[in-house]
């Protein structure tokens, strides 16, 4: 019996109404978390847009080399990590534990590389004099918005890497199921999705020409 069967026709079927979504409750919970997190990132990006529009001297510090080149590599890595995560989910559903494990650890490796590049980008900006409430170029709020948005995203990446490692270990040992891998995958794809909005709004609109 699949998890969705349990959800709709399971032990409490005689007492409880079936799920209108035909998905396990933990998957619905992850979807609800993703939607609420999307609103959080939306609010941060709108707040950033508000400050940027209201400032006449918003800095444009991102040069092609190293910043934009770095972000291009980071984008490639994150989208590729979504592909490896899909491989892990499909392999887990097909019952191929070894293959799922290889894909999961590939995703972790890509996530760690992404985080490393992100931190390198931060250190480069800090070396240039960017702080939370000051920078050498213009509006002092640039640092606050940049570090808040990219920092929250980096936190999501780090949490995702830890979560995937825990799930990979649990799945290999038989404590966790393919459903857990799928739900972790949902989260990881969301992290990728957020980056698709952070790059154009935070980096590409502030290019140094």
């Amino acid at each position: 019996m699949s998890e969705s069967d349990v959800a709709t026709h399971g032990h409490g079927a005689a007492l409880m109404e079936g799920s209108p979504y035909a998905i396990p409750s933990r998957k619905l919970t992850m979807w609800l978390f993703i939607i609420s997190d999307a609103v959080t990132f939306g609010a941060l990006l709108f707040g950033y847009g508000y400050l940027r529009t209201a400032s006449s001297d918003w800095p444009a510090p991102f040069k092609f080399n190293p910043s934009i080149l770095n972000v291009m590599i980071m984008t490639f890595i994150l989208i590729t990590s979504s592909l490896t995560m899909l491989g892990a989910v499909d392999s887990a559903k097909a019952g191929n534990k070894a293959k799922a494990n290889r894909f999961l650890w590939s995703t972790i490796l890509l996530g760690v590389i992404f985080a490393g590049l992100h931190i390198r980008e931060w250190f480069a900006l800090i070396d240039d004099g960017v702080r939370l409430f000051q920078n050498p170029w213009g509006s002092p709020l640039f640092g606050a918005t940049f570090f808040s948005i990219t920092g929250l995203h980096l936190l999501h990446v780090v949490c995702g890497v830890v979560a995937i490692a825990v799930v990979a270990r649990g799945y290999t040992r038989g404590r966790l199921t393919a459903g857990h891998v799928e739900i972790t995958g949902l989260y990881w794809h969301f992290v990728d999705l957020v980056w698709m909005f952070v790059v154009p709004l935070v980096y590409l609109l502030n290019l140094s020409r």
């Binding site: 979504y21 609800l32 939607i35 939306g42 709108f46 209201a54 990728d192 609109l205």
Partner: protein, 103 residues
């Protein structure tokens, strides 16, 4: 639970979406270095980001394979909230024009 793939060629079916997402990202980087006004560039980049995000949600997150009720519960509510956040813009522009040096 969504339909599962075979273990033989697990990622091949997602490769088209993967390449489209890479293409969208590449196009964004390319357009950012063209001579667009900030407003036009913002609109173009946002439109591309929404396309990329929709592909990721529908195919990578498999929302296209779930029951439509899940989509209708989650996505319209999210879009409504995000649209409501747009009420800040008039105040943001007012702040810009009220600055002493903005004549």
């Amino acid at each position: 639970m969504t339909t599962s793939g075979t273990s033989g060629n697990v990622i091949a079916k997602y490769l088209p979406v993967y390449f489209v997402l890479l293409g969208i990202a590449g196009l964004e980087f390319f357009l950012a270095y063209r001579n667009f006004s900030t407003g036009s560039l913002l609109a173009i980049l946002l439109a591309l980001a929404v396309c990329g995000g929709a592909l990721a949600v529908l195919y990578f997150m498999h929302l296209a394979q779930e029951r439509r009720s899940l989509f209708l519960t989650l996505i319209p509510a999210l879009i409504f909230v995000l649209i409501m956040m747009n009420m800040i813009w008039s105040d943001s522009l007012r702040l810009l024009h009220m600055r002493p040096f903005a004549h």
